[in-house]
């Protein structure tokens, strides 16, 4: 236990590294995922095909393989992203955006066709239908799964430990090597640090879900 307190500076650094990975990759993945979702519901065939292909491939790729691609394969093509933070951000963003896209698309698909028909029959324009009828409903359905995606992202940042980025899991391994006898406490403490992020997010998700639940 004492080791955990003594080494708290190191662990805190790892915690911040984990948080910043999750925050940056999360923001980028939300943006990219929204674009992909727009592709997948657009009336333009090639864009839809691109979106579908991307999501199908990325969703069936292990994250570790995605990291492997950016750390070992891409540099041999001549583009060398900076090892560590940068590659981790790229891999996590590309991976997570596929899941963001699916959450958003599921939200849009959950809106009944009758809603849009009703709006149009009332004389709403395309923009009004979208912004006042379809998207507000789609958004409500999408928020809880989106938070789940972000929770998964927080945990997924740990994969960066295997590819030269020092976040919390990497720290746990280093500290275990230093203080073998206290290993159990170190792991316990670091587990708690993860739960400090993931459990509140989970509670938030179920709160929002209850709050935005509406009859269809």
């Amino acid at each position: 236990m004492e080791t955990f307190i003594e080494e708290f500076g190191l662990i805190w650094g790892g915690f911040l590294a984990t948080l910043s990975l999750a925050a940056v990759a999360g923001a980028l993945a939300l943006a990219l995922g929204t674009v992909l979702a727009a592709f997948r519901v657009s009336p333009v065939g090639p864009l839809r095909t691109f979106g579908t292909l991307y999501v199908e491939i990325v969703r069936n790729t292990p994250l570790t393989l995605m990291f492997f691609f950016w750390v070992f394969v891409v540099p041999s093509l001549g583009f060398v992203p900076e090892l560590g933070f940068q590659t981790s951000i790229i891999a996590l963003t590309l991976y997570t955006s596929a899941f963001v896209c699916e959450a958003l698309r599921a939200g849009i698909n959950s809106v009944g066709v009758g809603q849009a028909e009703a709006a149009r029959s009332l004389g709403f324009t395309f923009g009004q239908t979208l912004s006042q009828v379809v998207l507000p409903q789609a958004w409500r359905t999408s928020v809880p799964p989106l938070i789940s995606v972000l929770i998964a992202l927080v945990k997924n940042t740990s994969v960066a430990a295997g590819f030269a980025f020092t976040e919390m899991v990497a720290i746990s391994k280093r500290l275990t090597n230093l203080h073998a006898s206290d290993a159990i406490f170190i792991f316990f403490g670091i587990g708690v640090m993860y739960l400090l992020i993931t459990i509140p997010l989970g509670i938030l998700a179920s709160r929002i879900e209850r709050k935005v639940a509406f009859a269809r």
Binding site: P43, V44, N60, L63, F69, V111, K155, K173, Y194, T198
Partner: protein, 304 residues
Amino acid sequence: MSEQSVLYDVPGPRAKRRDVILNVVFTAAFLVLIGFVVMSLYRRGVFDDRWQVLWDPPKSQSAGDVWGSLLRGIRATLLAAAIAAPMALTLGILVSTLRRGLRFKVSRGSMAVITELARGLPVLLLMFFARFVLGWEPLWSVVFGLVVYNAAVVAEIVRAGLAALPKGQREAGLSIGLSPMRTTLAIELPQAIRIMLPALVSQLVVLLKDSSLGYIVSYEELLRIMKTNRDFFGDRYTIPLFVVGAGIYITINIVVSRLAIRLESRMRRSQHVARTVSGEAPEPHTAPGVTAPTLQAAPKRRGP
């Protein structure tokens, strides 16, 4: 194209013309982009003799050596998944059954706490725990991480299935004098597992994908073998090896995902699945992700 979308009207003549134009423009743009990528890959010499590593490798190795090692990798990946999947299923079903069937609030609550904890931790941390604290073999560390996390997810999936059953099922069981536990075991559980089968199968994909974390705890699975081969033959051969390995991973996972989708559509047509109050079978939330964002507690009860 023809499927009715909530976002657009059925296209009229003008919209149809516009769609055709946009289709042509974007197809052309994509073709140009693909051509450009292929050209620049070609200039970098990606399509030269390095692909020979797959049938006539250098360093006096035979193609059999390369493919043999890759096969060993696939076997190790599948082995870890094959050990972990049944264990995770059993444990998950056990936890959700206890949570439903036990009489005491305390015991139900502790089951809930255990699932929450196991779901909130990174799989890799669990694997590291088994590897470095418990000092287990790499294979068993991988299995440990996979079992703990996926059992929690399975427990949540089954719980959502139980919650989605019509209330009358439980009431009927209790009213003919079965204990709560027997009601859960004999009446509710078989139905819940059945309606959640697609979600359970998609969780298998997650488990299979997570087995690649074995790479980091030095378990000799497919990805680790790819890396070993690359280190042996040299950086030049990264791309062919990666293409083969990624192809194997993606193919296996897509096959399992398809299975889940097929099961789901069969389930929709099936007459033997309990309907929820509103008359439709509950949609299983498929759980994506390495560490999948899991189910939203219980499916919402939809008003009529």
